[in-house]
């Protein structure tokens, strides 16, 4: 089940990433396709008492790349991170950092730096002493320590805070100090354990960008854990979706978004969630259609190939963003009786049925179009065939996997 394929780091992924997150004053780093593997986990099994948390996980992170572990609570992502850090030990499996087997090594011999969810700053030390802590333990010369602290402080804007105690800092400032503490260490790999979950929404968005910028500047290898799919999508070079102790899919964010391998991955990424309805395949005029819940959409024959059979039951998945007004083009799929409209300012989502007492569909409308739509309106909808996803109704696996 492992998806450790280097092609996830191919140029498409990189260019996709730069479209999403590149800012004018950060030079995109061009990487060669053959990159040394910085971190590898093979065949990890971990149980706590009777509960099996990780059930056979393989993970690879290439040098300098940003890998994000994402999944719902309890899926084992934090555990996997702690295993890489050395704070837990796996029942079976190996962990390699820069091709060195570190499975039996304690955290301090692994040369990793971790940013904790609760920042975990030393409460009795000032910011400067917090930053110094790890370096002093490794007997770094004082001049080196001073220069590294100055560098990190400049990078993160901590100059004014160096003599404060953690209890005198705000949440965002503490987060930056925690990152600074990791940065001065210059470790093999950075580990982030849901660092933004304790911040408010506005701050979260800001710090997210800072983290990515930092990563690019330092050319650092990073393993990042989050349950927030927006962070996952925006930060990752490689996305690893975990569910129930196993990796469901891994790859570049866009690829995982556009070609979900399982129903879980499909509904996990994207907000509002992909609408999943039970349906059946039909063939008309040599082309395949998927029908269900009032929806009647043409599917991409090339994509699904031999898996298409007329009469086969399938689960149809359509993202609200892909379901738009028919007048903008695309194949018509049905008429939506609008129940309610959610206006977000830049766009709006119309909730309704395509068929009486059928499942609810959500369609995206532009702000202008939404002005004339209200409860009770009838909207003809269309969706591009490439945006229709099909899954096996029993296993949840995509038909084109």
């Amino acid at each position: 089940m492992s998806q450790a394929t280097p092609h996830a780091l191919g140029p498409e992924a990189i260019s996709g990433k730069t479209t999403l997150t590149a800012t004018p004053f950060v030079e995109p780093v061009v990487r060669s396709p053959t990159r040394a593997l910085r971190c590898e986990a093979r065949g990890i099994h971990k149980s706590f008492g009777q509960t099996r948390i990780l059930k056979g996980v393989d993970l690879t992170i290439a040098e300098g790349s940003f890998a994000v572990l994402v999944g719902p609570s309890g899926c084992g992502k934090s555990t996997l991170l702690r295993l890489v850090a050395g704070l837990e030990s796996a029942d079976t499996g190996k962990i390699l950092l820069a091709n060195k087997d570190v499975t039996r090594l304690p955290p301090r011999d692994r040369d990793v730096a971790m940013v904790f969810q609760s920042y975990a700053l030393y409460p009795h030390l000032t910011v400067r002493e917090n930053l110094r802590f790890g370096l002093e333990l490794r007997k770094t010369p004082a001049a080196e320590i001073a220069s590294r602290i100055a560098e990190a402080s400049a990078m993160l804007g901590l100059d004014a805070l160096l003599d404060r105690l953690p209890k005198q800092l705000s949440g965002g400032q503490r987060q930056r100090v925690a990152m600074g503490r990791a940065i001065v260490r210059r470790p093999q790999i950075f580990l982030f354990d849901e660092p933004l979950s304790n911040l408010d929404a506005a701050l979260r968005a800001e710090v997210r960008v800072e983290i990515r910028r930092l990563h690019d500047k330092l050319n650092a290898t990073t393993l990042y854990v989050t349950h927030d799919q927006v962070e996952a999508m925006t930060l990752a070079d490689t996305l690893w979706v975990l569910n129930g102790g196993t990796v469901e899919q891994s790859g570049a964010p866009l690829e995982v978004y556009e070609r979900p391998r399982t129903a879980f991955v499909a509904t996990f990424l994207g907000s509002p969630k992909m609408t999943m309805i039970e349906g059946v395949l039909t063939r008309e005029n040599g082309r395949f259609f998927a029908s269900g819940g009032g929806l009647h959409a043409r599917v991409d024959d090339d994509r699904f190939g031999s898996h298409l059979e007329p009469g086969r039951s399938v689960t149809i998945g359509v993202r609200p963003h892909d379901l738009g007004l028919a007048k903008h083009g695309g194949d018509p799929v049905g008429e939506l009786k609008v129940e309610l409209v959610e206006a977000l300012g830049s766009e709006a989502f119309a909730h309704g049925w395509l068929r009486a007492s059928g499942p609810t569909f959500i369609a995206r409308l532009s702000a202008d179009d939404a002005r004339s739509v209200h409860s009770g309106s009838v909207l003809p909808l269309s969706v591009a065939p490439s945006r229709v996803h099909l899954f096996d109704p029993h296993t949840g696996v995509a038909l084109d996997a």
């Binding site: 850090a85 050395g86 704070l87 304690p106 955290p107 301090r108 990793v112 730096a113 971790m114 904790f116 969810q117 609760s118 975990a120 700053l121 030393y122 409460p123 009795h124 000032t126 802590f133 790890g134 333990l137 490794r138 003599d163 404060r164 105690l165 209890k167 005198q168 503490r181 260490r185």
Partner: protein, 783 residues
Amino acid sequence: MILRLSPGRSRSPWAAFRFAAFASFIAAWVASSLGFASLAGCSEPPRGLVLWHAYRGAEQQALESVARDFTAQTGTLVTLLAVPYDAYAAKLEAAIPRDNGPDVFISPHERLGSYLANRLVVPANEAFPDSDLARYMQAATKAVSVEGRRYAVPLASKCVALYINPAILHTAPESLEELERLKGSLGPSVFPIAYEAQSVYFHAGILHAFGGQLFDGTTYAMVGPAAEQAASKARSLIASGVVPPEPSGDLVKQLFASGKAAAVISGPWLASDLGDSVPYRVVPLPRIESAANEKMRPFLTVDGAFITPLGDRKPEARQLARFLGSHESAITRRDVGKQDVATESAWSAASSDAPAAASGDGTGTGTASANANPPPPVATTAAMLAAFHAAASEAIPMPTSVAMRATWVPAEQALRKVLRGESAPKAALDEGLARYTDIMRPIGETPSGQAPSPLPIVFVIGLLLLAAAAYAVRRARQPYFAQELKASIPAYAYVAHSALTIFVLVVLPLFAGAALSFFAGTRESPRFVGFANYIEILSVRGRPVAEWLTHGSFYFTLAVTVLWTVVNIAAHVSIGLVLGTLLARPWLKLRAVYRVLLIVPWAVPSYVTALAWKGMFHRQFGAVNAILVACGVEPISWFAKFSTAFAANLATNIWLGFPFMMVVVMGALTSIPSDVLEAAAVDGATRGQTFRLVTLPLLKPTLLPAVVLGSVWTFNMFNVVFLVSSGEPDGATDILVSEAYRWAFARNAQLGYAAAYAVIIFGILALMTRTLGKLSPDKGAKT
């Protein structure tokens, strides 16, 4: 139930009703309690004569029987009250002056001096008329007389005699040297004689044989050639192994019971302890050849029936006292109570009244055995009592003077010094006299004999009041003070009752104690002396400055106390830290078991622990020396040197004190977030470095109050120091509190002096607490 004190709030009728109901409930409860109390008083049956005693068991039964006889004969009801011995004197002193106590009470005679000083007894007069002189033992009569007047009816006497083991000694030894010569021929671990050599009471036999005395009627008299010879003799007995070293009463009993001592010196109490299982025979104490063949003459204590001022008004009281000493009562008391009665007629008629002698071993009286073989020389109770009676005729009555009380401690200290071999008899005994003189020296007497003026005290108190007033004014001047005060009134209402209780129970006694410290003298004759007590203490009773750090001075004791506190706290905290950290680890599976085992030292009462440890440090029979010997090390005499005695105290107190620190540490450790420790681990710290650099600094805020508390408790740890080392050697390991205790209760009852000590200790601790409290500044105060 909130008592609303702020006016102007609307009181709902329901609230008013509740208040009224609550108030009436309280009033009814108080009234009914008072009513019951008074009713109980009204319905008490008529008490007749009240007789107090401190007897138990057989003696109590005998007394009750005699009282019943008295009631049958005269028709006067007698109510007996048994009072525990330890509290007896205190209860008498508390009750009688308030017209509350007994009409007659039975007590050992040696307290007569203090009874007279406290006006607790009246002359016996009709209870002991001149015609009765021949009735009682001469020595007993002498004991209950002061300056020719008789104050009690002598009832029974107690003294020590020689118990011999009939299996080892077939005849009574003629002299002490005869017993000494037995050494070596008895077997390896058998002592020829055992007695509590360190107690002056038991040493008195030897002292009196050489012609010395403890108290000559006015002052301390255990000095001079006679006393020195006696002390040397006692030392030689121990040095030659004839007598076991460091013997306690229990040890003596055990040695005799297990056959490890051929003879012991003890009193009638040993017989009741031994019971029927151990054969013994009682004979009077032997002579001492080297003392010109003089007999060993022990102290005699006489139980007498005293009449109180309350009983003075009732002629029946004197009748009762006289009856208690009568022939019939004496027989009852001798046979049932097994007392060595002072009534001579009970002994002269012994052959006819005493039960059939012989057979059996130490069993009860009055059962003539069917198979009466010619008896081996084993004691029956009657024979034993007769033997004690014979010994009593040679005994010297204990002096009754109040000043006698202060002779014991210096005499014992001197004796122990000699027995330990630390100094020559002359030097030690002279030091004893010097100590006694020092203790008895009156404090604060101005040359002209007038009482010192209270001016300095008034001045100081005035200053303190001024300072308090200034502080109060400064607080009141702060903004919002009036509003805060008004808003706090409900809070004060909640707190009022407990504040009042604490004030009455804690603050008032504190002030009373401080007030007491301005007086000197004994309880019977206090004198106002102003600050003289404090000056005495701080100037080390007038000794030259060069001697201020020698042993016996306040500063020496202070230094010992500080050393004691510092070492103890250091040990407590380290052990508590180590164990607390160990127990906090999740993988220690038997954590619950370890927890209980470690809390046990904390839960067992400290005096029980102290006594147990004291036994373990005994030089000959203690567990610690046994372990040392098993490891091939020489046994240590733990209480002979300061360092080892201090170590013994230390070991006991550490065992007692570390669970508190351990529990504090365990609690504090749970407050350290685990991810901070994980961050340290990821940052590269070993477990030791994490502990030192992260855990310890985070524990400090919690440890500091624990350290302050622990310091105060250890500074005042009376139990351990008093019970384990008792200040041995020679008062060197005494800390300030035990020193204060001795001044109050062992050295001429200098209560004011001891109160001054207590105030000084309080001052030192208050200072220490403030200093330690200032040690925890907030580190982030830079911004």
